[in-house]
Symmetry: C2
């Protein structure tokens, strides 16, 4: 099969690799129809984080079940499924309490056995604990499928930011970051009933999309200026701040614009935070809670899918570019150049 392989900073190759196969009775093999390139893929693409050369990449597959192991009961061949970025057994302590990302099983899409999430096929270990079935009625509706694809990662992640920030009805919330996760965070905050949603970023087109998604105000600025403006708009800081970037500077911005006693919900994969650290002094003096982390999107898949199927949630406009399997390297380049917010891969 064809699959994307990491060949070093700035180099993604589409290569012929062995098709993954059922190895355990819990496995399912899925023919991938849609997948995506993630903002977090850019960390290794840019050489900012380590990744083994030759490793498979991608972690947002959707497709059709081709084959299942003997013990798999929740899906069968022919089913349309989405696969969260984290593989989860569904049975350990952490899966049972909804923290699927802390599953005790150490599985990821990136292994050779599982095939990588940007390829023609994946093998899903713990299929019953991981996969989410799309009801047959919607299983071939392209528009619905494109709206469901972000539930594999960024929509669930944006929702986790909102939940972690404690966003509820009537709240004022600031969303730091206008990437795909930040934009999905705006959708999530609106869905949870926030009254004022201030979207903060650097890109006019993305902030316009934020407004379409429900942002009531936008801030196009950086650093101190952005902080000042957010504090002004929120009369001294927001009780709920969603950090959707991951860079140390964005964390500090989020902490700085939180109102004393407020909460920062954070989901950005930490980057550069090891050198600079968190602004724990402001956290301390203002009693700012920092809550969140890698999003257990499996936990949120059903409720978000319900809304997509009912037509009240549609994150698909974040896909501003679509490529085919051979176009994956071009997809990475477009995201790296910020030409695309997020790239969909139609395999």
């Amino acid at each position: 099969m064809r699959a994307a392989v990491y060949r070093g900073p700035g180099e993604i190759a589409v290569e012929d690799v062995p098709k993954p196969e059922i190895e355990s009775p819990d496995d399912a093999v899925i023919r991938v129809t849609h997948t995506a390139v993630c903002g977090s893929d850019l960390w290794f693409y840019r050489g900012d984080s380590d990744r083994e050369e030759g490793s498979r990449v991608g972690h947002e597959p959707m497709g059709i079940v081709e084959e299942v192991g003997d013990d798999v009961t929740s899906v069968e061949p022919g089913d349309r499924v989405i696969a969260p970025f984290a593989i989860s057994c569904g049975e350990c302590e952490f899966c049972r309490k909804g923290l699927y990302t802390s599953c005790v099983e150490d599985e990821s899409w990136g292994s050779e056995a599982n095939g990588g999430g940007q390829g023609e096929y994946v093998k899903c270990p713990f299929a019953d604990g991981t996969l989410v079935r799309v009801p047959d009625r919607y299983a071939d509706d392209e528009e619905t499928l494109e709206a469901l694809l972000p539930l594999t990662d960024v929509m669930g992640t944006g929702h986790h930011a909102a939940v972690s920030a404690g966003v509820g009805e009537g709240d004022t919330v600031v969303v730091v970051g206008d990437g795909a996760v930040g934009l999905c965070g705006v959708l999530a905050a609106q869905r949870l009933g926030a009254e004022r949603i201030v979207a903060m970023g650097h890109h006019e087109d993305r902030l316009e999309l934020a407004e379409e998604f429900g942002a009531t105000e936008t801030i196009s600025a950086r650093g101190e200026e952005a902080i000042e403006r957010a504090r002004e708009l929120t009369h001294g800081g927001a009780n709920h701040v969603m950090e959707c970037v991951g860079a140390a500077s964005a964390m500090d911005t989020a902490i700085a614009i939180a109102r004393p006693g407020g909460t920062v919900g954070y989901v950005g994969v930490p980057y550069g935070v090891d050198e600079e650290g968190l602004d724990v002094f402001t956290m301390f003096s203002d009693n700012i809670t920092v809550r969140g982390g890698v999003a257990p999107v499996r936990k949120y898949a059903e409720e978000l899918m319900d809304d997509v199927l009912q037509g009240t949630l549609d994150p698909s406009p974040i896909f501003t570019k679509t490529v085919d399997m051979e176009g994956v390297p071009e997809g990475y380049a477009a995201m790296d150049d910020r030409e695309a917010i997020k790239v969909m891969v139609k395999v």
Copy 2:
């Protein structure tokens, strides 16, 4: 009057200074009968944090109201009162929601006008918002007064750590730090119904006191060894961890022993965290919530006082040394040398 004055690292002097006076109708002047030396005073005493030479020190006064301004209604001359370490107006947004430490009024005991918290008198601005009256029946009972004195800071701070860590009935909690705050944290966790309380520290005598206070297990170790031991005892990490030190290493320890999805309640004044930063990678991958900060002890004063007066709470054993006004420098030295857990000053 006599008051303690900071004269540079390692130097506390007791000097003659002007007695503070009523300046505003909201003020009260209090004749201090009891006060204390705080672990956080050691940061400047050791030269680890900046403080202006010649400034007044101390922030844990208890005493008898001597005079009140025209607008003060909650206390009158002759009343026994305790004074939280943070002065609060009682009327701003933050005071109204119980976050007294974020009061918009910028007042502290350390100013010349207010007299410092380690002296014969203090002036308390916003007396109605700050002072807590001890019922007359207990106002001269020395044993009760010594049990109430920690409510000015460390007992409320330990309680804030427990509340911030989400400690409740039947919980397992690890308390990092065997100083006065950590020991009060053990009392607080027990009071909130924790079933297992693991106290972690370096001093046998303090850990013994922790056991008297309700710790069910103790860990006398540092660094990786302490983390290993705590993980073993909690079968993989505690859902509730209370960080009661403030050093970067203690924060990292607390984060490391939190169970995925768990909460670190922290109240230690941050020290050294600016260089090393928080272990945000573990926080992120394990979805650890970090909550807490400088404790709004005014919020907790009544409920904790109720328990002290009913005889179900007695933090006074943390005072392992008592000095008089002239003995304050000796009190600092004893705490710096770790000869005393906490020093009471009978003025």
